[in-house]
Symmetry: C2
Subunit: 277 residues, 2 copies
Amino acid sequence: MTASALRDFSRLCLHTMTTKPWSIETAIARYAAAGVKGITVWRQWLDGKDPKGVGQMARDAGLEIVSYCRGGFFPARDRQGQQAAIDDNRMIIDEAEALGTQLIVLVCGAVPGQPLSDSRGQIRDGIGAVLDHARSAGIRLGIEPLHPMYADERSAINTIRQANDLSDFLQDPLVGVVVDVYHLWWDPDLQKEIRRAGQAGRLFAFHICDWLTPTEDLLNDRGLMGDGCINLREIRGWVEDAGFKGFNEVEIFSNRWWQQDQDVFLEAIKKAYLAVS
Amino acid sequence: MTASALRDFSRLCLHTMTTKPWSIETAIARYAAAGVKGITVWRQWLDGKDPKGVGQMARDAGLEIVSYCRGGFFPARDRQGQQAAIDDNRMIIDEAEALGTQLIVLVCGAVPGQPLSDSRGQIRDGIGAVLDHARSAGIRLGIEPLHPMYADERSAINTIRQANDLSDFLQDPLVGVVVDVYHLWWDPDLQKEIRRAGQAGRLFAFHICDWLTPTEDLLNDRGLMGDGCINLREIRGWVEDAGFKGFNEVEIFSNRWWQQDQDVFLEAIKKAYLAVS
């Protein structure tokens, strides 16, 4: 069922990448002042910082740290590269724990020219290899299927069905699925697979933005909600019908918006959030 | 099974769009001189021409007209638009018959913001509405699933499974599937669905090029075979194992290559065709 309009910002979360020009300190202060309630922290925002201190700063400002972006990138051409990825993911788990979030978003990875089936096996093995570490830290791992246009070098997991299948295989309550409308809106199986994820108790996160026509850049031309063609409210309805009660996370990579005043952008996000999300 | 290398050009076909700077007369002459055996004619190459005359010219030069590109674009916001698309597809069928080819490639269409489920229904109805006309002309209609990054305005049919399902629904030997590696290489179901299309006798055409990393333009940055990450020879093996004996059609949209001398491009295509396709 199509969801009803959102009436307040109690479930609004922003990714620090959405307001890329802002430092973590600025993002926390501005989000909180704007009434945003959640923040998803991208790893590069912690460069040179103490994750524990950043986490405390966010909580003191009234923000919940919804997730940490991003782990994954498991595939590599050789054993050494694969082990390095596993080691890196263990560090990411430690950082997430220090930050005080319970979810890491996995962008699973791919290597151009390496068979996707090989990469998919390495992703499965890589997640499996860090599960014990995640468990001891109390951190969940959300597999985010990426749009097929990123299958060359960002993720060999390109549909929610693959993410569900992989979660089934790993059979661990710590492993689940992240639904990002930008990656998945086109999929004829989307509603069915969201329901499947919900029934398995593994619908971990929900990311929103929009698909622009035309899209001028494969990476950084995402649209503000309502500026594109994604059936946002319908998909949110599917996610909520599947039992999801978490945050609606605004994740917009946009060269256009990053060139604007970020306070103006944040106000536009809030307006679009209530009007169309 | 991965296919063995191609040893000659007896199954090499080029799309006129691949050598965009060339007129139809030049394309026919140059392809024939290069030993290419097939040509797929895009509709705009017939602007102001007599299709029958063009067809004769191609055959006189020793070229088989493998297909006519492109019909489809059935979805529209209102009945009038949908009817206009159906009428246009009947004209396209007439043109294909005059040209002397037996296959039309369908790029099915989509309307930004219109629910994909609506567009999918209109595509099903649109193909159904032109089937009698296609039958009387002896023309087959090949549904080409397009990459999900074109789901906003080019095609609501984005996987080969959808094309197979739609063909099952329409239950007509004139309706089948066109496999283009650019659109489908990422799909974990690709091998299975190619087999399914073959078993149903509906594997109508096979298009090749490559996926570049990075891809800098969503439309016109396709790569020459071997310059990207697609498992070309493996997919050709799947297609041939499924019983396909037709042409390998080179369909490359590339701003880079279109800026080069097209004779040099054609030689590069021939070389890559034998080396990696």
